[in-house]
C-alpha cells in the first residue's frame, strides 16, 4: 500500500491542489483514501521500530494527495487491508475508531461493518491477553499505566516548529485556511498566536465556501473583528450558529448522524479557533454539544434527532446563562446594602445584570466604573447603567488608588474560574483585586458554573491571548507617534487580553450554586462531574 502510495504521489498532488482551488469538499473516497494511508503508515510504524521512522516520514508527505479511483476498485483492496489491521494492537484501534471505520467500507452493509468491528475488538482483547513479548504490545502497557499523561495544548506552542507543522497538516486535512501570525511578537510571549485584524481568515476563503457553513463564517468574522465580545455573548452566539448548522444538516447515505455530525463540527471549531481563540465557556459548550450528539440513539429519525439537539441547545442556554443570571442576582442582591459604593471594571454582562436588578429592587447605591485602554469596554457598561438611572462615576484604571478609599465593595466578572481557585478575567482585573485588598475592600467575583474549567494556571504568561498590537496606536491632533513601530527593531507592542487573579485577593465567588470561597472551586467541579 505504501508503495502504490508513493507511485501515485505526483498525480495525487495535482488532484488535491485542484480540488482545493475549486473549494470543493474532498469526496468521500478521497477522504477514505487519506485515512487508509495514514492507518497503514501507523501500522508500518508499529511493526518497524524507530530505525524506520525516518523512512516513514517521507511517505507521510506524499500520502496526502488522493486519487479519484472508482469505489469498486477499492473494495477488494479494503478487505485485505482490514485483515492485517487487527493484528498490530497498540495505537491503531484507538486511533481509527470510530471515525474511519464506518466510512472505510462503503460497499459493505451495516451488519458486516459491525461484524468486522467485533472481530477487531476480539482480536485486540486476545492479543492484549498475551504476554507483552512482542514489540508492538510494549506500546500498550505504558499507555495504560499513565492514562493521564497530559500534553501541552497546541495553542501555547506556537514557537515549536514540530507543533506548527502538525497544525498545518491538520488544517490541510480539514480544508480550512491557515491564518498567518503577525510576527512582531514580544519574545516572552512568542509561544502564543498573534493575529492582525487587517488580515482576517475569511479573505482566504472562496465565496460561497462549501466546506464551512456560512453562519460559522459570519460568526468567525464577528469574533475576529471584535463585533461579538464577552464570554457569555460569544458562547450564546456559538450555540445559535450550531443550531443553524444542525438545521441545515442532512445525513449522507450510509452514515450515522451521531458520528458524522461530530466530524462535521471539528473543522468549524478549528476555523473559529483561528479567528479568535476559544474561551473556556465556549469549550464547555462544545463539549456538551458533542456529548449530546454522540448520545443520540441510532434509531432516531433524522428530523427527530435534529429537533432533540435543538431543544438541548436551547435548554443549555436557558439553564446556564439566563437562569444562572437570575440565581446569581438573587444572591448578589443580599450583599448590596443601602449607601454602598460599588466599583466595577470593564463590561461584564452578569455584573451589569446584577446592578440593574438591585436598582429595580430599590437599593440605594452608586457605581464607579473603571475603564482601561485599548478596548475601553467600560464605556459600554457606563451607557447601560446610566440608561437605567443609576448614578455612576467613570475613571481610568490609573486613578484606581485615588478612588478606592471611597469604595465599599468591588464586583468583578470572570472569563473562567480555574481549578486551583484562580480567576481568569480581562487584563487589569488582578490589579484591581490587589489594590482593593490593600485597602481592605471586599472583592466579589460573579461567575456562572459553566465557566468553571479544569485547567490550572498560576500566572498570566503560560496561556493567554495576544490581541492585535496595532490597537495600541493612538492618533492625537492628526499625529500617530507609534505609526512606524515596525521600523524600530528594539520596540515591540504587547496587547494582552486576559490575566489571572490569585484566590487570596478574592473574598467571595457568587455562582448559581450559591456563595462559595474561591478555594471551593474544585469542590463544585467535582459535584458537576458526579452529576454528569
Amino acid at each position: 500500500m505504501a508503495d502504490c502510495g508513493e507511485a501515485d504521489g505526483p498525480v495525487k498532488k495535482d488532484d488535491i491542489v485542484r480540488a482545493k482551488n475549486e473549494g470543493k469538499e474532498l469526496t468521500k473516497e478521497e477522504k477514505q483514501r487519506l485515512r487508509k494511508e495514514k492507518k497503514h503508515q501507523k501500522k508500518q510504524k508499529d511493526e518497524k521500530r524507530p530505525s524506520e521512522r525516518v523512512k516513514e516520514k517521507k511517505p507521510v508527505a506524499p500520502s496526502q494527495p488522493v486519487a479519484t479511483q472508482p469505489p469498486t476498485q477499492k473494495a477488494p483492496t479494503v478487505l485485505p487491508a482490514s485483515a492485517p489491521i487487527p493484528v498490530p494492537v497498540s495505537g491503531a484501534p484507538s486511533y481509527s475508531s470510530p471515525a474511519p471505520s464506518p466510512a472505510d467500507k462503503p460497499a459493505k452493509s451495516r451488519a458486516e461493518q459491525k461484524a468486522e468491528r467485533r472481530a477487531r475488538q476480539e482480536a485486540d482483547r486476545a492479543s492484549k491477553q498475551q504476554s507483552c513479548s512482542s514489540s508492538s504490545k510494549t506500546k500498550a502497557p505504558p499507555s495504560e499505566l499513565n492514562p493521564v499523561v497530559k500534553r501541552l495544548p497546541e495553542h501555547v506552542q506556537v514557537d515549536d516548529p514540530a507543533v506548527v507543522k502538525r497544525l498545518t497538516k491538520k488544517f490541510e486535512r480539514q480544508q480550512i485556511p491557515l491564518r498567518s501570525d503577525y510576527d512582531y511578537k514580544v519574545s516572552l510571549f512568542s509561544h502564543l498566536h498573534q493575529y492582525s485584524r487587517k488580515a482576517p481568515l475569511t479573505q482566504q476563503l472562496s465565496i460561497p465556501s462549501t466546506v464551512i457553513h456560512p453562519s460559522i463564517v459570519r460568526l468567525g468574522l464577528q469574533y475576529s473583528q471584535g463585533i461579538v465580545v464577552g464570554s457569555n455573548a460569544r458562547s450564546v452566539a456559538l450555540l445559535h450558529a450550531f443550531k443553524q448548522v444542525i438545521r441545515d444538516y442532512t445525513t449522507p447515505p450510509n452514515e450515522e448522524l451521531a458520528r458524522d455530525l461530530v466530524n462535521k463540527l471539528k473543522p468549524y471549531i478549528s476555523f473559529l479557533n483561528q479567528c479568535r481563540p476559544l474561551s473556556a465557556s465556549m469549550g464547555n459548550a462544545i463539549k456538551y454539544i458533542k456529548k449530546e450528539i454522540s448520545n443520540i440513539p441510532s434509531q432516531f429519525k433524522e428530523e427527530e434527532a435534529k429537533t432533540k439537539l435543538q431543544t438541548c441547545i436551547d435548554r443549555y442556554i436557558n439553564e446556564n446563562v439566563v437562569l444562572a443570571a437570575k440565581a446569581i442576582s438573587k444572591y448578589a442582591i443580599e450583599k448590596i446594602s443601602d449607601g454602598d459604593v460599588i466599583l466595577v471594571y470593564g463590561c461584564s454582562s452578569l455584573v451589569n445584570h446584577i446592578l440593574c436588578e438591585a436598582y429595580d429592587k430599590n437599593r440605594k447605591f452608586r457605581v464607579i466604573v473603571v475603564d482601561s485602554r485599548p478596548r475601553l469596554e467600560g464605556r459600554e457598561a457606563l451607557r447601560r447603567l446610566v440608561q437605567r438611572g443609576i448614578s455612576c462615576t467613570y475613571v481610568l484604571i490609573s486613578a484606581l488608588s485615588y478612588i478606592l478609599p471611597e469604595v465599599s465593595k468591588v464586583f468583578l466578572g470572570a472569563h473562567a474560574l480555574l481549578a486551583n481557585g484562580y480567576v481568569m478575567s480581562r487584563v487589569g482585573t488582578s490589579q484591581i483585586a490587589l489594590v482593593a485588598r490593600t485597602f481592605n475592600v471586599p472583592v466579589l467575583v460573579c461567575c456562572e458554573t459553566y465557566k468553571f474549567c479544569e485547567r490550572v494556571q498560576t500566572d498570566s504568561f503560560v496561556s493567554n491571548e495576544l490581541d492585535d498590537p496595532d490597537d495600541l496606536m493612538v492618533t492625537r491632533k492628526g499625529k500617530t507617534q507609534l505609526e512606524n513601530w515596525h521600523d524600530v527593531s528594539s520596540l515591540r507592542l504587547l496587547n494582552l487580553v486576559y490575566d489571572v487573579t490569585p484566590p487570596d485577593f478574592v473574598d467571595l465567588v457568587i455562582t448559581d450554586l450559591g456563595m462559595i470561597p474561591c478555594t471551593s472551586v474544585p469542590v463544585v467541579l467535582r459535584i458537576k462531574n458526579l452529576e454528569q
Binding site: P517, S520, V523, I527
Partner: protein, 274 residues
Amino acid sequence: MLLCSLLPCSGETILGLRESLKWATDCLTEVDSSVAVSSGGELFLRFISLTSLEHQDLSRCKKVMEERGELFLEKISLSRTKVAKLCHTFIKDGAKILTHSSSRVVLRVLEKAAAEKKRFTVYVTESQPDTAGKQMADALRRLNVPVTVVLDAAVGYVLEKVDLVIVGAEGVVESGGIINKIGTYQMAVCSKAHNKPFYVVAESFKFVRLYPLNQQDVPDRFKYKADTLRTVSDLSDEHPMIDYTPPSLITLLFTDLGVLTPSAVSDELIKLYL
C-alpha cells in the same frame, strides 16, 4: 436541651409538621438570638426531614422523624467529646494557652488535656460586658489548672508569653471564618502578628449558611441580644455582642467532623446542605 423542646409536635401532614418545627425554632431564636440556636435548629430540621419523602404512612413517618431526632441529639452530645479527643493532642506539656471568654467546648478540651496528665497554664480574658471570663477561670481552678484572668486590653501584652490560642465559636460561617464573642477578632489579629497558632473548637451543628464580608455584614439579629433588638430604636448606640473573624487569621478548626482548615469548611458545608 434546646432541641428537646422541638420533639413533641402534633401535625397531620408532613408540611404541617415542618411548619410547626420552624415556628418552634423561630420562637427560640426570638428569645435567645444566638447563631448557634439558629444553625442548630436549621440543621435539626434538615436532618429529620431527610426521610420525610420515603414513607407513605404518616404515623410511621412521624416515628421515624422522632427516632432521627433522638439520633441527632445523641450525636450532638457526643460531639463535644469527639472534639476534645482531637484537640487535646495539640496541647503540649508545659504549654501556655490563651483563651477568650467562657466556652464549654474549650473547657471540655482543657479537661481532657488535664486528664491526660499534661501540665499547662491558662490565660483567660475577662471579656466585658458580661465578665464571662471569670466563670471560665473558676471552672478551671476547680480542675487545679493554674489560671490568670487578664484584661481584654492586655491581649497584645500577654501574647508574647503564650504558645497557642484556643477559642470556641458561636457559629462557623461558609467562608471558614467564625462568629464569636466580641474581642475574638482582636485576639486573632494579634496572634497573627505574633505568629502564634490560632485554633478554633466548634461542634458541627454550629456551621451556618452565612457569608459575611466584613464586620458590618453580619446580620443585626446576631449582633445584639433579642430584647435589645426589640426595645432599642437606634442601634448605633448599642454595642454588638459578637464579631466576625475572617478565615485568613485561623490556623485550624477542630470539629467532630475532624480537624479542618478554614477552606475545608466550605467543602463540609456543601456536603451538609446540598
